[in-house]
Structures are given as structure tokens and as C-alpha cells.
């Protein structure tokens, strides 16, 4: 199996994997970064969202062979002490129910707020539309994105 050098959370990891292995499973099974979740495997739910060069990206659709040289950030690397403004806002609002979708939600929200630090309500709803929360914590997610945007500005 070929070896790939991945830059994840500012560290380089050499991993051996099949060319077509999704980054998601490399993160979870090989690098032990299990904060990135599997929900659908086809880009529909957002549970697996990571940042690639700062852009929210579905790690279930990114093949490992295309990931070399990219700057990948996972939920574990979003902040040093779990204190990114978006994480703080998520805690302030107590967003999670089962919590399973939330790292994906946080990664989507943090990439979005970086581009658009003071979004309107409908911009927030559009930006978060690709992330499913089966527990339907949508009201709280929406509010937390707003709170995070206030923290950022």
C-alpha cells in the first residue's frame, strides 16, 4: 500500500492506505482523530466536516491520494484548549443533544464565520443547511452561530 504524508493540525503524519480511502477513515482508524464523524459517506450530512486550507470540506469525499500537501484541520485542532469562539458559543448555548453531529456543525460554522464574521440570519441558515442534526438541535445551532459571530467581532 502506498504511503501518504498528511498535514493534520499542524503535524505531519505518514500513513499507509489504499489510494481511494476517504480521509475520514484515515483520520478515525489510523490517526485516532475520532472527533470527525461518519454519518452518510456521500457528502449529504456534514458530520465529517474538516477544514482544508481553511475551507469546510467533507472528509468522506476526499480521497487520501488527493490530500497530500493540504492543510487539514480537524475538530481536535480547531483550538488549543477547546476555546475557539465557536466552541465557546456552543458551550454557552448548550447546543448538543446526542452530540454526534456537533463537531461537524462546529467545523462548518467556524469556516463560515471566518469568511463572513457578521452574517445575517438567512446567511446562517443557508450556510448550515448541509449539516443534518437528527436530534433537531437547529434552533440552538442557529443561536450559537450568532453568539459566536458576536464573540468574533
Amino acid at each position: 500500500m502506498p504511503t501518504f504524508n498528511l498535514k493534520i493540525n499542524n503535524k505531519t503524519h505518514a500513513v499507509e492506505a489504499d489510494m481511494d480511502t476517504p480521509l475520514l477513515w484515515v483520520l478515525r482508524d489510523q490517526i485516532n482523530l475520532v472527533g470527525t464523524k461518519y454519518g452518510c459517506g456521500i457528502g449529504q450530512c456534514g458530520a465529517c466536516t474538516v477544514h482544508v486550507d481553511g475551507v469546510a470540506t467533507r472528509s468522506c469525499l476526499l480521497q487520501i491520494s488527493q490530500a497530500e500537501g493540504l492543510n487539514i484541520t480537524t475538530i481536535e485542532g480547531l483550538s488549543e484548549n477547546g476555546n475557539h469562539p465557536v466552541q465557546e458559543a456552543w458551550k454557552d448555548i448548550d447546543v448538543p443533544q446526542c452530540g454526534y453531529c456537533q463537531s461537524g456543525q462546529i467545523m462548518t460554522a467556524s469556516a463560515f464565520l471566518k469568511r463572513n464574521p457578521s452574517p445575517s440570519n438567512s446567511e446562517i441558515r443557508n450556510a448550515m443547511h448541509g449539516n443534518i442534526c437528527r436530534c433537531a438541535s437547529y434552533n440552538s445551532i442557529e443561536k450559537a452561530v450568532k453568539v459566536a459571530s458576536e464573540k468574533l467581532t
Binding site: 489504499d18 464523524k37 446526542c98 452530540g99
Partner: protein, 739 residues
């Protein structure tokens, strides 16, 4: 006999204390035994040992309190709210309380289930007793130290004070307290003195969740663990004829391809009624690999031949079968009051309507998975499960092992909604590990999860009411459902008791498609049907829909019928609250409202949906929700549950369905199965009825009524009565994504 034993029931029998070698005191109690209403604990405390306990409170000599909570967390917040109740009566600052999920030895557990919204309701009294008893022991120990009577001491926030103003921390007396007699009949706090209960308290796993720590079953790992992907029959009604795994075996990372299912079949010959094992009971092919991806890819490379064993059903077939049932006479009567036939014969007017719902998948965000390590010494199982005790029993039977050898550890769960009541996935993992004698994790893909599931069965209701002299004289409800039916108590919900001639009949069609509990079983659609019906009934009668409900409830007040489950005063309370808070009847132009009220899972709920129409597409803007759930233990957690239930209810009523063709589910992932997304969600505005009653559950009861609130609002806007879910499929409009 049972009664006399219960009289002798002593509180001390569910508590036991000991000192810890590391310093501090450990209080053990059997939460689930204590929560069972009809339990008769051993009279003598010496009959108990710590193996019987599944929950512990540890008080360290610094006064720090750790509560080991055994309750599985599926997102309903009990892992936070149950310890809050203990801490309240123990009277310690919440900041000094740490909550840990107990590692479980599954021996002797009773109510170890997260489901039915019952955890809080049943745990309320015992948990308070436990906390209060522990506090009393600490006070007694301090009093002995001071040489005074315990009544001269008070305890607050972890500190015991005597009349002279001297103080001792809980930690200073744990050693002495641990060896004292367990006091009986301790006094509980007056709810008005609560300082923890009723305060917003964050989820205890919050930090771990937002930083992506391993918490869930899918995150669990052990050295040497392998991954297994299971190939199950693609259609319900098919069995495995043959397969060719040569291509799969040649793939990198694939270790072996085996079959399982034999053990489950043997077991089912003895006990056909075993529900868990009937799920996907046929032979399955298992690809074992050294990574999840290799296991999934390997599974996709297996070539198979399937044989048809029984009818390959489809959606039209189910529709016909259920309509035939409604029109036939194969009903069981769950409840019958007066004479419905006579009432209908004498009526001035009769309204009859039929309501229909589809199959639904659970679609827990975390697909089914389980870890198993079967060795000669023990069977170690780890994963997300709502019924660890029952699962341990089945696994021990399945593998022919002593129950003492089976250890189940529960992880946090990425959603439950009823799916994780069934331990089929844990049994599969155990069977696989038993076959290969290695630690292994069975991982379902989303496709596996959605297309080989345990579904909410489709149901059709035919409801009829007779009207005479402007009054409802008769009410008849017929239920036709796949595989199961509403059970006894549901027929005692509103409007039972409010209409003199009342009948609730059920019938079912037995399908080979597996069905089971889904968030608020049966009521999840029954409430939509009945509350849509009442909206139309009020219109036909020419009366105000709110007043119609209030008048009906008036008749139930003071009833001597003990079967009636709801409380008419409490239903009236939520109706009045929602009318007030929703600004009922006084909306802005272009906003249309729908009303719905329901009782289930011991909680009373009324809801009003506000919608607007955008190019023929209904958009739910706001839902006002009035809830009477007794004392609200944790308002923050309660709000999450309530809002989640409302939005989940809207999503499934409007958008979701699973259809079948030739026994094959026609959706297998989120590109073909619609779940509600943020752009479609209303703001949910929640109001609680103030109450001193014991708390009741919130995981389920806000979901059932909302479908009707939306349907009734759509009627107000369009004049079209929607009777078939999902509503959007029956509105002939293409929805655009709403930003």
C-alpha cells in the same frame, strides 16, 4: 403476600455505604430496582452486596462528589438531570459534583432502559431519597463528633453547621458517616428550597463533545481490534443461497469472509418470540478487515445469490392490506364505552376521515455498531445500547455462556429514537467475535443502517364521530397497522372519557419487514390523525376548536374512571397557556395558525404552528409549545428536548418516508431520504406550566401533536385538508430550499 412485604419495605434496603481505602465514602444503590414501581427489595440489608448496585455516589475526604450514573445517554440529558436530583437533596454545590458513566456489570438489572421518557419520572423519588439519606448520615456523623443531637445541625452546600456556628465539611466526616446505620424516613426538601433543580445546567459531556473526544460506540477502540462489515439480505423476504468472496478476500486489508446467523436460527427454533434475533435473522456474510474502509470495500466486492423465501412486499401492497383491514371486521377492541353503533344510527351528522402514514427509518446520526471480544473467560461488549441487560441475556443464550461472563459497557449514543432498544447489532458483533475469537467492531454503513433496519410501521386510522343536537355523541377509531398495534393505555388517552359512546379498535397485518418502537410509538402518528380530525370536526359542528376541547375536558373532570390516563385540568392548562402565548387568532396578515393538543408519556402538551405560504409552499415560521411536565429539573436540557421533539415531528410529518419495492427499501441514504434541515425549521417558543408535581418525561411527548398543528395551519392557509404523511408529497408543489 406482595402487599405485606411492601409494608415492611425499608428505605435502607436500597442503600449501602462503605469507606474507601483511598479515603472517602462510597454509597451504593440500585437505581433501577429503586425505580421499579412494584419492586420488593430484600428486607435485610445483609442480603445485598455491592454487586447488586449499579449506581454509586463517592464523597472524597475533600468533599468532592462523584456520581456514577448508569443510565444510558441517548441525548435526552438524563446523564445530567439524574445526578442533579441526587446533588439537590445531598445539598452540595453543583460545581463540586462530577458525573461518570458507570462501567456496568449487567447482573441483576431491572429497569436499565432509556426509552419511553420514563427515566426521570420513575427515578425522581428514589433519587431524592438517596441524596437525602446520604446527607442525613453525614449530619449524624458530625453530630456524634460534636457530641450533640443531629437535630441541632444543619447542612447546606456541603457544609454542616451547629448551633454555635462551628462547621464541618462533608469531607471531614465521611469516614465516620460510612460506618453509621443507614437512617430511615429522612425528610425531603420542600421544592421551594431547591437550588440545583430548576436551574439551567449544561450537559455534563459538553466539553468532550465540542472538542471531539472519543465518546461514542463508533469511537471505541482496543488493541488488536478488527473491523467487520455485514452483508444482509437486500430485500425483506430473501435468504442467502450462495456467495463468492474470492474477489473480496484478495483485497488489501481484508482478513477473512465468514457467515453468521446459524446461532440465531438455532435459538429462534426454541424461542420464536425473541424480537431482537428476528431482526435480520437470516444468514449474513461478514467481511473482517483491518480497517473500516477495507471492510466496507470488501463487502461491496462479495458476489451473492439470494433466494426468495416469502412475499416481497411493496408499498402499494401495504396500502391495500391496511385498507382491507379498515374495511374488514378483524378488529380487537381496546376500549368500548356506551354504544357507538346506536349513537351513529341516531346521529344528525357523521364525519368520517382516514389518515395515513408511511414507514419511517430511525436514522440515528451514529449508525448501528458494537464492539465484542469473546474469549474463554468472558464476553466483553461495548457500545451504544438502550437495553444492556436484555442484550446481555440474549447474548449469553446465543453463545451458550453464563450470564455472569457477559459484561456490557455502554458508550454515549449518537441518537436512539427507539432503534437502540433492539440489540441485534450487539448480537451480531458477539457472534462474529465468537467465530473469529478476536476483538472486533461491527460497523454499519448508512446504507446498511437505513435499508436493514427496524422501522416505524405504516398506520392508517379511520376516525368517525357522530353529532346530534350540536354535541359529539359517538367517537370511533379504527387502527390498521403493520405488525403491531397501539396497546391498552393509548386507548385511554383523550378523547376517551369525554365522549359517552367511544370505541377504539385495532387490527394488524403481519409483514416480514421488521418494525419496532420509534420515538413515541403509535402516538407519533395517532396524535396527528386525531388532532387533524378534531380540527375538521369543530368546523363541521360550527364551533370554536379551542372551545370544543375545553367543553369535552369539562366532562372528564372528577371522573371516577381510573383507566383515564390524562388529567383534564392539566390538558386545559396547556391549552389556555398556548392560546395566550401564541397570540391565537390575532396573527399578522399572511400568517396562518393551526392548533393541536395531546397527552402521552405522562406529559401534557399543546402546540400552535404559525405558517406562511411562499409560492404554494408552506413554511413553518414558529411553533408555540405549552408543556406541563411537572417540576422542570433542568430547564436548559428540557428546552433542548422539547424543541428537538417539535422539529423532529415537523420533519417527519412533512418530508420523510420509506417506501418498498419488491421487499427492498427504496431509500438507503440521505440523498434519497429527506430529513429536516436548518432552512426548514421554525423557531420553537416553549412555555412551561408552573408545577410542583413530580417531573415527567420530555424525550417524546412534544413530537406527536405537532403534525396536526402544521396540517391544521396548512388548512387555514389553503383550505386543503392533508391526511397523508409526508404532507409535502401530497401538496403537489416542489419545495425550494429556503434560506
Amino acid at each position: 403476600m406482595k402487599t405485606s412485604k411492601q409494608i415492611a419495605f425499608s428505605r435502607r434496603s436500597f442503600l449501602k455505604t462503605s469507606t474507601l481505602a483511598s479515603g472517602g465514602m462510597l454509597i451504593g444503590f440500585n437505581l433501577f430496582n429503586a425505580c421499579k414501581q412494584d419492586v420488593v427489595p430484600p428486607i435485610d440489608i445483609s442480603e445485598l452486596n455491592f454487586n447488586d448496585f449499579n449506581a454509586f455516589i463517592k464523597i472524597s475526604d475533600e468533599g468532592k462528589v462523584t456520581i456514577f450514573s448508569p443510565n444510558p445517554e441517548i441525548g435526552q440529558g438524563v446523564k445530567t438531570s439524574m445526578p442533579m436530583i441526587i446533588a439537590e437533596e445531598l445539598d452540595v454545590p453543583w460545581e463540586n459534583v462530577f458525573v461518570q458513566q458507570g462501567v456496568l456489570d449487567t447482573k441483576n438489572y431491572q429497569r436499565q432502559v432509556a426509552g419511553g421518557s420514563q427515566s426521570i419520572r420513575l427515578g425522581w423519588e428514589p433519587l431524592r431519597q438517596t441524596g437525602a439519606t446520604a446527607k442525613q448520615m453525614l449530619v449524624n456523623a458530625a453530630a456524634t463528633k460534636w457530641g450533640i443531637d443531629a437535630s441541632e445541625c444543619t447542612a447546606k452546600l456541603g457544609v454542616i453547621t451547629n448551633a454555635k456556628g462551628e462547621t464541618l465539611g462533608y469531607g471531614d466526616v465521611v469516614k465516620e458517616a460510612a460506618v453509621l446505620e443507614v437512617p430511615e424516613g429522612v425528610k425531603l426538601k420542600d421544592p421551594k428550597d431547591f437550588t440545583i433543580i430548576g436551574k439551567n445546567t449544561s450537559n455534563v459531556d459538553l466539553d468532550n463533545i465540542v472538542t471531539g473526544k472519543p465518546l461514542y460506540g463508533l469511537d471505541y477502540k482496543e488493541d488488536g481490534m478488527l473491523y467487520a462489515s455485514v452483508l444482509r439480505a437486500p430485500a425483506f423476504g430473501q435468504v442467502l443461497e450462495s456467495f463468492d468472496a474470492s474477489a473480496a478476500k484478495a483485497m488489501p486489508g481484508v482478513i477473512d469472509v465468514i457467515t453468521i446467523g446459524e446461532k440465531a436460527r438455532e435459538y429462534l427454533e426454541k424461542d420464536k418470540s425473541n424480537w431482537t434475533l428476528r431482526i435480520n435473522r437470516n444468514d449474513k456474510i461478514v467481511v473482517i478487515a483491518n480497517s473500516t474502509w477495507a471492510a466496507i470495500k470488501g463487502k461491496n466486492a462479495v458476489k451473492t445469490v439470494w433466494n426468495t423465501e416469502s412475499e416481497l412486499e411493496d408499498t402499494e401492497f401495504h396500502d391495500k392490506a391496511l385498507v382491507n383491514l379498515l374495511e374488514g371486521n378483524k378488529f380487537n377492541t381496546l376500549r368500548s364505552d356506551g354504544n357507538v353503533k346506536k349513537a351513529f344510527a341516531e346521529a344528525d351528522k357523521i364525519l368520517e376521515r382516514t389518515y395515513e402514514s408511511p414507514f419511517l427509518a430511525h436514522n440515528c446520526m451514529e449508525p448501528m455498531n458494537f464492539f465484542a471480544n469473546v474469549t474463554e473467560e468472558k464476553v466483553h461488549l461495548v457500545g451504544p445500547i438502550q437495553t444492556p441487560a436484555a442484550t446481555a441475556t440474549i447474548v449469553s443464550d446465543l453463545l451458550d455462556r453464563n450470564i455472569e461472563d457477559v459484561h456490557v459497557e455502554m458508550t454515549r449514543m449518537g441518537g436512539g429514537f427507539g432503534r437502540r432498544l433492539y440489540g441485534d447489532f450487539a448480537c451480531e458483533a458477539a457472534e462474529i467475535s465468537n467465530a473469529i475469537q478476536k476483538p472486533v467492531k461491527m460497523v454499519s454503513t448508512r446504507e446498511d443502517d437505513m435499508s436493514t433496519g427496524v422501522y416505524r410501521p405504516p398506520t392508517k386510522y379511520r376516525i368517525a364521530a357522530s353529532i346530534k343536537d350540536g354535541k359529539i355523541t359517538g367517537y370511533q377509531l379504527k387502527e390498521a397497522c403493520v405488525n403491531g398495534n397501539s396497546w391498552g393505555q393509548i386507548s385511554d388517552f383523550f378523547p376517551a372519557g369525554a365522549v359517552e359512546n367511544y370505541q377504539f379498535d385495532v387490527a394488524n397485518y403481519k409483514s416480514n419487514i421488521t418494525t419496532g418502537a420509534w420515538r413515541a410509538p403509535y402516538t407519533n402518528f395517532l396524535a396527528s390523525a386525531e388532532q387533524s380530525f378534531f380540527d375538521e370536526l369543530a368546523e363541521v359542528m360550527g364551533v370554536d376548536r379551542i372551545q370544543l376541547h375545553l367543553d369535552l375536558l369539562q366532562k372528564v373532570k372528577g371522573t371516577t374512571d381510573e383507566r383515564i390516563q390524562y388529567n383534564p385540568e392539566r390538558l386545559e392548562g396547556v391549552i389556555k397557556l398556548v392560546v395566550d402565548k401564541s397570540n391565537w387568532g390575532n396573527t399578522k396578515e399572511g400568517v396562518y395558525q393551526g392548533f393541536s393538543v395531546y397527552y402521552c408519556h405522562n406529559t401534557h402538551v399543546a402546540e400552535v404552528a404559525d405558517i406562511i405560504m411562499d409560492n404554494g409552499v408552506p413554511i413553518v415560521k414558529r411553533v408555540t409549545c405549552a408543556v406541563d411536565c411537572g417540576i422542570v429539573v433542568n430547564p436548559l436540557g428540557a428546552l433542548n428536548q422539547i424543541k428537538g421533539g417539535v422539529i423532529d415531528g415537523i420533519g417527519h410529518a412533512m418530508y420523510s418516508e420509506l417506501t418498498f419495492n419488491n421487499g427492498i427499501p427504496q431509500s438507503n441514504n440521505f440523498d434519497s431520504y429527506q430529513l429536516i434541515r436548518m432552512g426548514q425549521t421554525p423557531n420553537v417558543d416553549v412555555h412551561f406550566v408552573e408545577s410542583n408535581e413530580s417531573p415527567t418525561g420530555l424525550g417524546e411527548p412534544t413530537l406527536p401533536p405537532v403534525g396536526a398543528a402544521v396540517a391544521n395551519a396548512i388548512y387555514a392557509a389553503t383550505g386543503k385538508r392533508l391526511t397523508k404523511q409526508p404532507y409535502m408529497n401530497n401538496m403537489n408543489v416542489k419545495e425550494k430550499i429556503i434560506g
